[in-house]
């Protein structure tokens, strides 16, 4: 009895231990993977038709194989599920021949009907795919989409038989949308126009196939609205069937995803890491610490607070070996391979961080509308004023003193060397004297000597309202620096106005600004993904820029059927747009900063489109594991 009370004291502790063991048994750690990647956010979805974020698309590229692939090194179009393809004389009809050994991860063959099924999903308004408009290049797709949307609207007003509506829609699609499947291994697509970049589009993950048999059980028709409701449970490990390099075997929400090499993938010999762990670490500090303590091979998004300092340390390291690196590059070697073979960095140096020019451009938009909200005349409606403001910006100083990531200054929108065959285009550079002359030509000069410019009637140039989003200090710093440049060089009054993302977007859409922060990442490998932003009625034409001349030039360039001549003409439009019209001021190309040690990891793509192929990444110490035969996983 003497010890009994002590045992009773221990009882709650024992209970805690038991509960702890129970909790731990519910959550098992995974065995180490061949490759560990840290991402800032988890995938929103694994449904390729509904994807839109860069890290999702990157994941999709190794889960689902499209008809053609983009080679990571140069973004050239190479065979994917289609082993060959041909286009008709007028380039409006494309025929894809699917390879016989293209298989789903459950062993089923990948057929042309899988593509037709998936593309129909993307085109249907029911799916709410972000990129459904990309499919409107296909003849009949836009009309089908609009018809279906109208039918659904009508059904919501006056419900009828939802099953009949769906049967009608299916028949409508088969009849009107020009996607044909003459046999399992042939896919024929007819386009509205001889779209030069259609093959590039076909490599976009939203054009990837899904395995109809595993998706269909989760599709139902909502009786009240007639809409197709897609439950997304088929994307979960255990159920998901993919046709790419990997299959997800574990996916824990906002925690990790484990990819295992797909034993049925036709090109499995080229898949380097047999297992990949994609870990989500939202806190940028923890992500960096985790990488530094050896927890990962590749950190895809370095937090902004580290970038500047770390890139400077890399610069110091590279400076020490400049001779070796230049000699290596002259031999045609890849920078990572050279740097990875050099002696390890000393104090104050590092090589495990690298910035890449991305397929994105940072810019500030002019409000090009004739009037500002409230009915006041907008001085930026005049291209001379826009050119003056663009000419007065010292971009070199902005990237060296403000953004400080070693960005490449941009004169136009399309990043140089990002699109094969598209020439470099020069825009407006720094020229303060010409900027003042442009303003004078527009009627603005300092007439009374008070240090501020006035128009002919003696009215001061209105205070320039510069709008930026407060999501990142980068834009505030840029806005302030540019305000000072304009004040100093052009003698105008200017004020910066920071708004949080949502309110900023609202002001931008309403045209409630004179100059506003902007930015764009290209969606596909063609200059139109950039130039279309200035098109009349484009949803992302925040500038309200409208020009018949521009529309005419674009239409003419697009009508050119010879791909090389077409690109040359588009380049000429871009040159004209940015030297004459200046609807926006390109500042620099975005830089994406990765953390990885080139002496440990090989295969990081340098091409500006940053279409990293995860299956081409491998640790340098470990030779690639031999690809197992398909039977071994079953």
């Amino acid at each position: 009895m003497l010890y009994a009370p002590s045992v009773r004291v221990l009882a709650p502790v024992l209970l805690l231990i038991l509960a702890l063991l129970a909790a731990m048994s519910l959550d098992s750690p995974l065995p180490p993977a061949d490759l560990v990647i840290i991402e800032r956010s988890d995938c929103y979805t694994l449904d390729p038709q509904r994807m839109s974020y860069q890290h999702e698309l990157r994941r999709a590229r190794v889960l689902y194989e499209t008809l053609v692939n983009l080679r990571a090194a140069d973004c050239a179009v190479v065979p994917g599920v289609a082993e060959r393809w041909e286009a008709s004389e007028d380039r409006k009809t494309h025929v894809f021949h699917l390879r016989a050994d293209a298989k789903w991860s459950n062993g089923d063959p990948v057929t042309s009907r899988d593509f037709a099924y998936s593309w129909r999903r993307a085109i249907l308004p029911d799916t709410a795919a972000d990129y459904s408009a990309l499919f409107f290049a296909i003849r009949g797709a836009r009309e089908f989409h609009e018809r279906r949307a109208a039918k659904l609207k009508e059904f919501a007003r006056a419900p009828g038989d939802p099953d009949a509506l769906w049967r009608e829609t299916e028949a409508d699609f088969a009849r009107t949308v020009a996607i044909e499947t003459p046999d399992d291994r042939t896919l024929v697509v007819h386009l509205n126009t001889p779209l030069a970049y259609f093959l590039d589009l076909c490599a976009f993950p939203c054009f990837a196939p899904v395995h109809a048999a595993s998706v269909e059980p989760f599709v139902s028709i909502e009786r009240a609205t007639g809409r197709l409701i897609q439950r997304h449970d088929w994307t979960k490990p255990g159920r998901i069937v993919t046709n790419g390099a990997y299959v997800p075997t574990v996916w824990r929400y906002k925690r990790d995803m484990r990819l295992e090499a797909n034993p049925h993938y036709w090109n499995r010999a080229e898949v380097l890491a047999r297992t990949v762990e994609c870990r989500t670490i939202e806190n940028p500090n923890t992500g960096v610490l985790s990488f530094q303590s050896g927890g990962a091979d590749w950190l895809t998004d370095l937090g902004p607070e580290y970038k500047t300092e770390m890139l400077a340390e890399r610069k110091a390291y590279l400076a020490r070996f400049r001779g070796e690196i230049e000699a290596g590059l002259a031999r045609g070697a890849i920078e990572d391979d050279i740097v990875g073979g050099l002696p390890p960095p000393g104090p104050g140096e590092r090589r495990d961080v690298r910035g890449f020019n991305a397929f994105g451009t940072d810019f500030f938009s002019f409000n090009c509308r004739p009037e500002l909200p409230g009915g006041k005349a907008n001085p930026f409606h005049d291209a001379r004023v826009r050119r003056a403001f663009a000419l007065a910006v010292d971009k070199q100083q902005l990237v060296e003193r403000v953004t400080r990531l070693g960005e490449r200054v941009a004169g136009t929108l399309v990043p140089p060397d990002s699109i094969p065959g598209y020439p470099r285009v020069e825009g407006l550079g720094l020229d303060v004297a010409r900027a003042r002359a442009e303003l004078k030509a527009a009627g603005y000069e300092d007439r009374d000597g008070d240090g501020v410019i006035e128009d002919a009637r003696g009215e001061r140039f209105p205070t320039v309202d510069i709008l930026y989003s407060t999501a990142s200090p980068r834009y505030q710093n840029l806005a302030l620096a540019m305000r000072d440049m304009w004040k100093r060089e052009l003698r105008v009054a200017a004020e910066c106005r920071g708004k949080d993302s949502k309110l900023y977007k609202e002001d931008l859409k309403k045209g409630n600004f004179m100059i506003a922060r902007g930015g764009w990442y290209g969606d596909y490998g063609d200059p139109t993904t950039w130039l279309d932003l200035q098109r009349r009625g484009n949803g992302n034409n925040d500038r309200g820029y409208e020009s018949d001349e521009f529309e005419r030039r674009m239409d003419e360039a697009e009508a050119e059927t010879d791909p090389a001549r077409r690109l040359a003409r588009l380049a000429e439009v871009e040159r004209w747009l940015f030297t004459e019209e200046a609807p926006l001021i390109p500042i620099c190309n975005y830089v994406t900063v990765y953390m990885y040690d080139p002496s440990r990891l090989g295969g990081i793509a340098e091409h500006p489109r940053l279409e990293q192929d995860i299956s081409g990444l491998g640790r340098r110490d470990g030779a690639p594991a031999p690809a197992p035969a398909p039977e071994s996983m079953r």
């Binding site: 909790a23 709410a128 929400y253 923890t286 610490l289 303590s293």
Partner: protein, 322 residues
């Protein structure tokens, strides 16, 4: 403790009858709070937006256009009533997350809850171990240098926020010394630092409870008798004094465990622990109503069960209560 004088079985039965009413009250309150927050969960200012008619259709699908319908529909599915009545295909369905439509709340809880529980329960164990040791050491020799040390540490543990301690520990033990991994979850080594960080305020409080109890107990008559019989001081302390000094700790353990399980958000963030706290905060910020309601429902049920467990234990440890 104000438990009614009845049998343990009666206590359990009574609490289980109360349970649905408590959870219903919490549900209703959370519902009112969640719906009164302005904003639309289907809106995403940073991303691309679906067309207006799709958003309308989704609102209908999730019953976001009709709060009353949502209230009863969600309650029916979450409680299992809809399933019992044959109106739904599965019980306890907490619905799809509005912000992450590929996931339903049950799946999110199934991955996050074991992690948060492992973290919270490990933290409580560490807290009890540290707290009792420090409290006993201090309580046996009040006023000594050792006592002063434990007191200072206790104040530090209570007053220093966990993101400061957590970050410091992370830098020292994980980054500089490389003893523990950073980020990632699984295995004792990855639990150690976050659990220790989370345990500190609780350890500090427990040590003060034990210290006071010890000081009081050591001057009690039965302890003096035991000492007079020649038993060594530490033996008396651990075998006789501690069992009484521990009682206040036990009543603190119930609510403290609940707090450790639910309030680990900051620690989860600092150490990138994939628990439920991060999801819950994201849910609140993004007005992910189903996620918030689901987490609150599960947590309130757990809270009631914990308090019940502590009350039952209390009777077991101190039979005078019954």
């Amino acid at each position: 403790m104000s438990a009614p004088r009845s049998s343990v079985a009666g206590l359990i039965a009574g609490r289980l009858v109360q349970l649905p009413f408590i959870v219903l009250a919490v549900y209703t309150l959370t519902f009112i709070l969640a719906w009164s927050v302005p904003g639309n969960p289907l809106e995403n200012p940073e991303g691309r937006r679906p067309p207006a008619e799709i958003v309308e259709a989704m609102k209908k699908q999730y019953k976001l256009d009709d709060p009353v319908a949502f209230y009863f529909d969600y309650l029916g599915k979450a409680s299992g009533a809809a399933w019992l009545l044959g109106r739904h295909d599965r019980p306890f369905d907490l619905g799809p997350s509005l912000k992450q439509p590929d996931w339903n709340v049950n799946e999110i809880l199934a991955t996050g809850l074991p992690v948060s529980m492992t973290l919270g329960l490990s933290a409580m164990l560490i807290a009890v171990a540290i707290g009792i040791t420090a409290g006993t050491v201090g309580g046996l020799r009040p006023g000594s240098a050792l006592d002063a040390c434990t007191q200072v540490l206790a104040i530090a543990g209570i007053s220093l926020p966990s993101f400061v301690i957590g970050s410091a520990l992370l830098m020292l033990f994980a980054v500089k010394l490389g003893l523990f991994p950073v980020g990632g979850w699984g295995g004792v080594r990855s639990v150690a630092l976050p659990a220790f960080t989370l345990s500190l305020p609780f350890a500090a409080y427990i040590s003060r409870l034990v210290r006071f109890g010890m000081i009081e107990e050591m001057s009690a008559d039965h302890i003096r008798t035991a000492r007079a019989k020649g038993l060594p001081r530490w033996k008396v302390a651990f075998k006789h004094a501690l069992k009484n000094a521990f009682l206040p700790v036990l009543s603190y353990l119930g609510p403290a465990t609940a707090v450790a399980l639910t309030g680990s958000f900051v620690v989860e963030k600092v150490f990138a622990v994939p628990g439920i706290g991060q999801n819950f905060v994201d849910g609140v910020l993004g007005k992910d109503i189903t996620l918030v309601m689901g987490v609150v429902l599960v947590y309130s049920t757990m809270m009631v069960m914990f308090n019940l467990a502590v009350d039952v234990l209390y009777r077991f440890v101190d039979p005078r209560i019954a």
